[in-house]
């Protein structure tokens, strides 16, 4: 059977596989060790533990979904990091052990996740593990030094260490998340890490700054600082949530409207969705970063919009069977439509050049990689259709391969064949 496991973002995630199991199991062991350790040695400063625990649980309750099927809990992260970096409460020194910080954070995160579970939103154990590991790393580095009195004094001696640890936590969380995504999405680690660092940067900066504010303010305001200094982050979080919301709506809308040619009978039902799914999978296989993948997805969804300018639909909607000049005009018209949206200039460009051969006969520059991907994915889908049949898939890939001399990009066809053909074939 030809496997169609190249799941796009937003579709049901596959069950945990080995890498993720390893991460979750390691985190679980760490949590068990810290809880045991804390229980044996006794909880230091119960009030502080409860105050920070409450903030972390609250932040976990308000966790955010970010573009690209990600999750973040900036308030919880800030609370946990502040607890890890705490030096004084009022005039009294604060000395929670690293184990206690990890235990409080883990328990609070679980409490905060409970209401989500109650309303049927599954807990994403890998994302929670990544967040917890970053905090654990920070606590393990900072607590022993701070509790031994090696860090302290004035802000200019404390601040650089803390800033450094915040940066390390950001790098670590991004790296762990990137590792998981490499596994899940079949992308490359370096590409995934770049995407992750970029997406997490703004949130990490806001959460990190708030963590430092809380840690320092506890010195002046006592534990009231925990509530007061989480307020700026609340503003940030509201803004981020609205941004993520409109991003998701945008994608949904383009997905929905891309089906317009299908309803009009111009294209086979499900064609745009299949081509965009396959295109994104190929793009990822070829190591394209996330921003480019999003543009590729938009372009692939809308690649047949130009057919609306035809009075009569192309038979079966299969543009691969239509003459080159006509394909080009359909593409040109589609690009015109998209160009009207002005903001999607790159997408219009990709759509415009989707029917150009990968090695143009004249001296014109070769079409962008995204156009070449859509060209191959579109041709493949026109040949195979919605039928999942290994023989048909092999035949279609063979046919595309025969044309790699001029028409299709051989690199793209290779990636496509890795995705649609059985691994041993």
């Amino acid at each position: 059977m030809a496997s169609r496991w190249y799941e796009p973002r937003g579709f049901p995630r596959p069950a945990l596989d080995s890498g993720q199991w390893l991460l979750v199991a390691f985190t679980a062991l760490l949590v068990i060790w810290s809880v045991a350790q804390t229980a044996v040695s006794g909880v230091r400063d119960v009030h502080a533990a409860l105050a920070f625990g409450a903030l972390i649980a609250f932040g976990e309750l308000l966790r955010l979904n970010l573009p690209g099927d990600r999750e973040a809990a900036p308030i919880a992260t800030a609370g946990a990091m502040a607890y890890a970096l705490l030096l004084r409460i009022g005039n009294a020194p604060a000395r929670p052990t690293a184990a206690q910080v990890i235990a409080v954070t883990a328990i609070a995160m679980m409490i905060g996740a409970l209401p989500h579970l109650a309303v049927g939103r599954p807990a994403r154990s890998t994302a929670m593990s990544a967040r917890l590991l970053a905090v654990a790393c920070m606590a393990a580095a900072f607590r022993p030094l701070a509790n031994a009195g090696l860090i302290g004094g004035r802000w200019w001696s404390e601040l650089p260490v803390m800033l450094g640890l915040v940066v390390v936590a950001w790098l670590l969380e991004s790296a762990v998340t990137a590792l998981i995504r490499t596994d899940q999405l079949r992308t490359r680690f370096v590409v995934a890490l770049g995407d992750e660092l970029r997406v997490q940067f703004a949130i990490a900066a806001a959460a990190g700054a708030s963590a430092l504010l809380i840690a320092f303010a506890a010195e002046v305001m006592g534990l009231a600082a925990v509530a007061v200094f989480a307020a700026p982050l609340l503003v940030t979080q509201v803004a981020l949530r609205r941004y993520a919301g409109i991003r998701a709506t945008y994608l949904q809308t383009v997905r929905a409207l891309a089906r317009v040619p299908e309803i009009g009978g111009y294209v086979e039902a499900g064609h745009s969705a299949r081509v965009s799914r396959l295109s994104v999978a190929i793009g990822r296989e070829l190591g394209m970063p996330e921003a480019a993948l999003l543009e590729l997805e938009y372009a692939a969804l809308m690649h047949d919009i130009g057919q609306l300018s035809l009075r009569d639909p192309v038979p079966g909607g299969a543009t691969v069977l239509v003459a080159r000049e006509e394909q080009r005009r359909i593409a040109e018209y589609g690009a015109e439509v998209i160009q009207q949206a002005r903001v999607l200039g790159t997408v219009a460009d990709i759509v415009r050049r989707q029917s150009d051969p990968c090695r143009p006969v004249d001296r014109s520059p070769p079409p962008p990689l995204s156009s070449r991907i859509i060209r191959a994915a579109n041709a493949y889908d026109d040949l195979v259709g919605s039928l999942e049949d290994a023989a048909r898939a092999t035949e279609a890939v063979e046919r595309l391969r025969l044309d790699t001399a001029s028409e299709y990009d051989p690199q793209v066809v290779d990636a496509l064949s890795r995705l649609v053909l059985p691994a041993n074939g």
Partner: protein
């Protein structure tokens, strides 16, 4: 911008003069100039990241945060000096008189807020562990005074410089903005509280979450603009199928928004009805072109095909998450109040509100634009027709609201349809 009246100039002059007097007369002994410098930098940073709120040049920035921190740390005169930073904001837009007025306004607000803070018996200076929670009350009073003075001075200038010929409407000076301002003002106490621990590094740390929030808001606005442009472009693509309806979606959307605003719908719902208007005929794609462009009357089968379009439209837009109410509007926009419409034959209040609004705007645009079977009718005639069918086909209250809005704001009817058929066949491409 139109020319300012003499009274407006006098008013702006008075505000600036009062600010200069405050700055010149205030005792400047015992001021920590390094502290004032750092806070001024913070204020310039806030002012430079201001965002436009409405078309009349009202911009909003987080300046209050820096001003109020200065009230606690440096006192009334120090806060007034810090507020002069408004003049130096790096942003395009404000003209020199606007900058001068803004600075004068912030200087006066800060000074009066500082006086209030002192009147409540608080001392100026860096707060220590013993200052809390006693400091919170006076600070809150100072913040309220700051926002209130700001609000009054700004409203007065907007009132004096308003364009008398422009339509009366809200100009974005809404209450919500001032609550937001008060919220950001609360950050001032955070800066002041941390000064004893972190010194001049405090504003940097407080500024980071604020800047990230501003960044996310800007991203949100950009995405929203992109979203609207994309929906509108795709709707136009749909309309190429029936060249008589070019621009129809856009106009129905405009009409629906006019009705919705007139009857006082909440802004979120007005936004949703705008999209519903744009997308209401998306299902027409499922209707064969030959039927849509037919010049003679339709057969029963053809009419049945046309009647299916609201459901087809629903099929397409169903997956768009935010559109719940808009979905109902799209599905039922051909129902009639007397229950003789399609697809479900709902009557009266059974028809969702959005659908009743869309029905009025849709019928009106259909009457005032060319169709394959007849020419466009003039607006007054179409209004008479709407009135005639109110209570049978349309909801009378929405007809009234629409007529009121058109009589006040006017209506731009479409250009006559082009003579040639823009659709292409494969052969003639």
């Amino acid at each position: 911008m139109h020319k300012l009246s003499r009274i407006a100039w006098l008013y702006i002059g008075a505000v600036v003069a009062a600010a200069v007097i405050v700055l010149a007369a205030g005792p400047d002994t015992g001021l920590d100039w390094a502290q004032i410098g750092v806070l001024s930098l913070l204020l310039v940073a806030c002012e430079s990241s201001a965002t436009l709120v409405n078309g009349r040049g009202l911009a909003w920035s987080a300046n209050t945060m820096a001003s109020l921190a200065a009230v606690v740390l440096c006192g009334p005169v120090g806060a007034a000096i810090v507020s002069c930073g408004t003049l130096l904001g790096v942003r395009r837009g404000p003209t020199l008189p606007q900058r001068l007025f803004n600075s004068g306004m912030y200087v006066l607000s800060a000074y009066l807020a500082g006086r209030t803070y002192l009147a409540f018996g608080e001392h100026v200076g860096t707060p220590g562990p013993t200052s809390f929670p006693g400091l919170i009350g006076p600070f809150a009073a100072a913040a309220v005074v700051h926002v209130a003075v700001n609000f009054m001075l700004l409203h007065a200038v907007f009132w004096l410089t308003r364009d008398p010929s422009a339509a009366v409407g809200r100009d974005g000076l809404d209450f919500k903005l001032w609550v937001t301002d008060l919220g950001y003002g609360a950050f001032g106490i955070l800066i002041a509280a941390l000064w004893s621990v972190l010194g001049p590094f405090t504003p940097v740390l407080v500024l980071i979450p604020v800047l990230v929030a501003r960044w996310a808001v800007a991203q949100f606005a950009a995405q929203q603009r992109a979203y609207e442009a994309t929906v509108s472009a795709l709707c136009q693509a749909v309309e190429t199928k029936d060249f008589y309806t070019r621009g129809h979606s856009e106009r129905v959307s405009r009409g629906a928004v006019m009705i919705a605003t007139e009857i006082g719908m909440r802004p979120e719902r007005v936004g949703a009805i705008r999209y519903a208007g744009m997308l209401h005929d998306v299902g027409k794609l499922g209707v064969p072109t030959s039927v849509l462009q037919k010049r003679s009357s339709l057969t029963d089968d053809e009419y049945a095909a046309v009647q299916l379009h609201p459901m087809r439209g629903l099929d397409i837009v169903r997956e768009i998450g935010f559109l719940d109410e808009a979905l109902a509007g799209i599905m039922h926009h051909h129902e009639r109040i007397d229950g003789r419409g399609y697809p479900m034959g709902l009557a009266g209040d059974e028809i969702p509100e959005f659908a009743r609004v869309l029905a009025v705007a849709d019928a009106f645009d259909a009457m005032t634009s060319d169709r394959s079977y007849r020419g466009a009718r003039p607006v007054p005639e179409a209004i008479t027709e709407l009135r005639k069918w109110a209570g049978k086909q349309f909801d009378p209250s929405f007809v009234d609201a629409f007529v009121t809005a058109i009589e006040r704001d006017g209506w731009t009817a479409p250009e006559p349809a082009p003579a040639e058929d823009p659709l292409r066949t494969i052969e003639s491409l």
